[in-house]
Point group: C2
Chain length 210, copies 2
DNA sequence: TTGGAAAATGACATTCGTGTCGTTTTATGA
DNA sequence: TCATAAAACGACACGAATGTCATTTTCCAA
């Protein structure tokens, strides 16, 4: 009588497989990736992998959940590290630029591809909506903090500006992954957006005069 | 001796197949679509379809070219129909809103999916770059006309603002197709963007005062 | 050290779309 | 009307990935 290995080992093997899957996804794209590919990349046997996941879709969903969990507390973190909301947003934009430059090496194109192909299906649709609502409300909350502190006097509802932020983010990522950060002038576009945001937020101090 | 049918008939049959393909793509997505699906949708036989196209990829490429050809002269058309560049841009934004509302019924999600999955491959990469360069230069040219006419005094290079326009466009479309125009507040976002654009362009007249 | 239960293996049958190709149909010119 | 060449058809063989499962290996507890 004896479960042969347990908990930690099982969990770490799961992680191992997921990492192999992500490598394959990044290299080939989500839809071009087969169970066969992941099996080979992981170095395990076919049966072994199937013991943990029975499709690339399951793997993708697990990876998405994992990524979501990591991004959870990003907003509070930002506020903790910066004195003003304006600075927090600047930092966010700086981080975004960094992300755009290296976008092809990471998971974002894969996530993009997955959602672009699977939005029709409930499983992914629900996940998408959760992610969107969460991203919007986190950023909107940030804006409201700035509003309460007297940093901003927004010309439009925080919710709308937050949604615009998300849309522009998505657009930048799509274009950066397809044309490269250089060709789409990531730096210039982010600067343009910084100016626009200041204007829309009615940032106190410098900002909105001609 | 006689080629049995010719030119027109052949061309119209080709169109017919492409239309069937597009219906399948819109219904199921590009990657979920198989030659079998298109054959069934078109009502022709397997061999008949293969006489014209030997993969869904060929069909997609043909459809993309067709769409590109249609969008060719859009910019001049706009200028012809509006007295000022500002009005032309407003009209463009209005048209965009309309597009966002009905986005799920049209080809845009399919195009998005295709590029999100295939950007790694040269065939699509080249096409993408052509489309991007063309979109950017068309819009930048529009802005320069406004500048020359004294309508604008841009705070940033026209090229950068044009690229921002394209990115935001792409982001809006991505979000609209995934969450619906309602949930992502298409109208509000476009209004926010209209304000931002006015500000960035330093539009003469109203615009940029607090 | 050994018995046994879970984990891991990989060969195999199955499924599904692909592409081909011999046959049939169709449309013209003679 | 007929001959004929192209167009359209659809059955079939092929290939690739899937998912299973009988067998082997591994690890713990007694």
């Amino acid at each position: 009588m004896s479960p042969k290995v347990s908990d930690e080992h099982r969990e770490s093997k799961r992680k191992e497989i997921l990492q192999a899957a992500m490598r394959v996804f990044i290299r080939q794209g989500y839809h071009a990736a087969t169970m066969k590919d992941v099996v080979e990349e992981s170095g395990l046997s076919r049966g072994g992998v199937y013991l943990y996941f029975s499709s690339t879709e399951e793997m993708m969903l697990a990876l998405l959940e994992e990524m979501d969990r990591e991004n959870e507390n990003q907003a509070e973190e930002l506020l903790r590290r910066h004195r003003t909301v304006g600075e927090a947003i600047d930092s966010l934009l700086g981080h975004l630029l960094e992300e755009l430059v290296h976008i092809r090496e990471g998971a974002i194109p894969v996530v993009f591809e997955t959602f672009a192909a699977e939005w029709r299906r409930q499983t992914f649709g629900r996940l998408l909506e959760r992610r969107y609502a969460s991203a919007v409300s986190r950023f909107a909350e940030l804006l409201r903090v700035g509003e309460r502190r007297g940093e901003f006097r927004p010309r439009l509802p925080a919710e709308t500006i937050a949604k615009m932020f998300v849309s522009f983010n998505d657009g930048l990522m799509a274009d950066a992954m397809q044309f490269g950060a250089e060709a789409m002038d990531a730096r210039g576009q982010i600067e343009a957006y910084r100016l626009s945001l200041r204007y829309l937020l009615g940032a106190a101090g410098r900002a909105a005069e001609a």
